[in-house]
């Protein structure tokens, strides 16, 4: 068994790593189906955004209490991973607490820090479960999350609580065994949280204790590897993608809309035919009808969205009962991406499924309700932009389908003929100065 354990561990680790790599590659491939027409310069400012938004969680602190709770889970996740490193080395080498001989007395200090964080994570996960399921918090109780998204959110919290519990159980059984079998379980000193469980375990035989200790150890690491592989199917993927997303988030003023150089040139050639190159090919499509027409950044953002709903809580359309919800825009885009990814996996290349993001996943009514006020982008802790997606879909609606409400068609014709959105004569533009 002692020879076999490292082999089983290596097999587990390799399988988990391979499966994660495969799924991550598929997601990357799917994201890169998007257009790549934008240059992302100024890496110094972009790294600053990664530090502020992703590492520093600056925008989370608009609500300091929730930000603090989230920070505990985040810090716990990052710091407890140092302990996971030891667990992995132990697993590979068949050793037990491999760092202990090297750092001696400091060992219990480190484990105590991990245990305190793990305790914090457990408490916060319970608080978050209560917030999601008992208290009424509008953005968490919203219909956007009906069904799988709500289960996903609860599952993440429960799994985290289970993982932390296994970590405590493993440490508690270990401490109990230290008094019985010091050669296999060298003394570490008492651990601040798990030592409280020792009195409960004293009643068990050494064999039972070893089963508990080993059982908790294996379940803990299997749980972590399983959770890693769950990430790509879950909203929890934000723990990875929040970082690149922050890097690529807009540096320009939020009011600036993405230019369409193809249309710009079309207009230029129409106004000044001498500038038109003889071989100019007319643009093929305008705006986005499906995910292939969106910028790859928007597609990555759909995978980064953790469905917190701060965007929709700030959206003037959502809060006044319109069908539009910016969170749903991100979720619908990801749903479509998942379907496209499966399609590609099955058929090697995408085979037309008679569906598009526009109409089948996001309706005209939703798109029409946006006031382009940027509240969603501002509210998002990592500055995802549902607005970019909405605008590209609107462009497709107008320029590909001529699908506009009649009032807008009047507005367009007024702008074109009278140079103002209302039906006034351009001759009267200075009249304000004449009247008293």
């Amino acid at each position: 068994m002692e020879m076999l354990a490292p082999l089983i561990f290596i097999a587990l680790l390799a399988t988990a790593g391979f499966l994660f790599y495969k799924k991550a590659s598929l997601i990357k491939k799917t994201i890169l189906l998007g257009k790549s027409e934008i240059q992302y310069n100024d890496s110094a400012r972009r790294w600053k955004q990664v530090l502020l938004l992703a590492f520093g969680q600056k925008k989370m602190f608009k609500n300091p209490l929730v930000a603090f709770l989230h920070l505990i889970i985040y810090a716990g996740f990052v710091i407890i991973n140092i302990e996971v490193l030891e667990i992995i080395i132990d697993g590979l080498t068949g050793k037990h607490r491999v760092f202990l001989p090297y750092i001696g007395n400091y060992y219990s200090f480190f484990i105590n820090v991990f245990e305190l964080l793990a305790f914090g994570v457990t408490v916060v996960c319970i608080v978050f479960l209560v917030r999601r399921n008992v208290l009424y918090i509008k953005r968490l109780a919203s219909n956007d999350l009906a069904g799988w998204p709500k289960t996903d959110a609860n599952l993440i919290l429960v799994v985290e609580i289970v993982l932390m519990t296994l970590f405590f159980l493993m440490n508690a059984a270990d401490q109990t065994l230290q008094g019985i079998d010091p050669t296999h379980y060298p003394a570490t000193g008492s651990f601040i949280i798990s030592s409280n469980l020792v009195p409960l375990l004293n009643q068990f035989s050494p064999t039972t204790l070893m089963i508990i200790e080993r059982g908790a150890w294996w379940l803990h690491i299997i749980g972590i590897l399983a959770f890693l592989n769950y990430l790509p199917y879950s909203k929890h993927l934000h723990i990875i993608l929040a970082f690149p997303t922050a890097y690529y988030s807009a540096l320009e003023p939020a009011g600036k809309m993405k230019n369409m150089p193809s249309v710009q040139n079309e207009v230029l050639y129409a106004m000044d035919p001498s500038k038109a190159p003889t071989d100019a090919a007319p643009p093929t499509t305008f705006g986005a009808k499906d995910i292939f027409d969106l910028n790859w950044k928007s597609l990555m953002e759909a995978y980064s969205c953790t469905e917190c709903g701060r965007c929709s809580a700030a959206c003037p359309a959502t809060t006044t009962g319109k069908l539009l919800s910016p969170r749903k825009i991100m979720m619908a885009t990801r749903d479509r991406l998942e379907v496209v990814a499966q399609n590609i996996q099955k058929n090697t290349n995408f085979v037309d499924d008679q569906k598009t993001l526009l109409h089948d996943y996001i309706s005209v009514e939703e798109l029409r309700a946006c006031t382009t006020c940027n509240a969603c982008v501002e509210a998002c802790p990592v500055s995802l932009s549902p607005l970019d997606i909405i605008m590209e879909l609107r462009r497709s609606l107008i320029m590909e389908e001529s699908n506009a409400p009649s009032e807008w068609n009047n507005t367009f014709s007024n702008i074109e003929n009278n140079f103002a959105p209302w039906k006034f004569s351009p001759e009267d533009r200075e009249n304000w100065a004449k009247e008293n």
Partner: protein, 259 residues
Amino acid sequence: MKVNTMAEMMASGTMPEYLFWVGCAGSFDQRAQKITKAFALILDKVGISYAVLGKEEACTGDPARRAGNEFLFQMMAYQNIQVMNAYGVKKIITTCPHCFNTIKNEYPELGGNYEVIHHTTLLQSLINEGKIVLKEGGVFKGKKISYHDSCYLGRANNIYEAPRKVLEILDAELIEMKRCRSNGLCCGAGGAQMFKEEEAGTTRINIERAEEAVATGAQIIASACPFCNTMMTDGIKNKEKENEMAVLDIAELIAESMA
């Protein structure tokens, strides 16, 4: 009121310091015309040299672009940039945050490079330079004023302080609405919504915003955008508070207070 056009200035061989971009609302909307006049009055009193494009001004294309009609936007942008570049325009002031945003952020990559200033920013610097002198006593002294953030000034362009700093000289009591600055609630007009009926919902956006405005107990809602002004005025009428509250542009508040 005598307002010079760029064409007249050019004919007389002079160039104004600023082009005053009036915008469609400021030119044609009866309510917004008052804002335009108030701002022109301030410019005259302070002695700033400016001119308008008059008949040569056309919609910036903002509502067309945001509705999704990029062709129309590009046509309008092309036309406006041709006109402004022909006059050698360098500095532009405007009372409309939508025009401000489009000319400042979206015209440069189409060949229109200008220094664009919103009127609240200009007013703030005029105040800092001591060029705006108010009447004795203060017309709005002690009045409760609440400033409604325009999305295209605030979140779109990070201008939150200039309008508030301008209001400070009125010696009024400034109250913030529940959602203000970067959390400010839209009036409901942006993204070409001004020109169509709202989608079905539980309430209208401008009514929701008006409720917040009413809750402050302010006598004056200060706006910095002609579209916000319309939406807030309608919202307050809907709440039947039009006799207790007025929606006034910051330019109007300053113009009325100036000596």
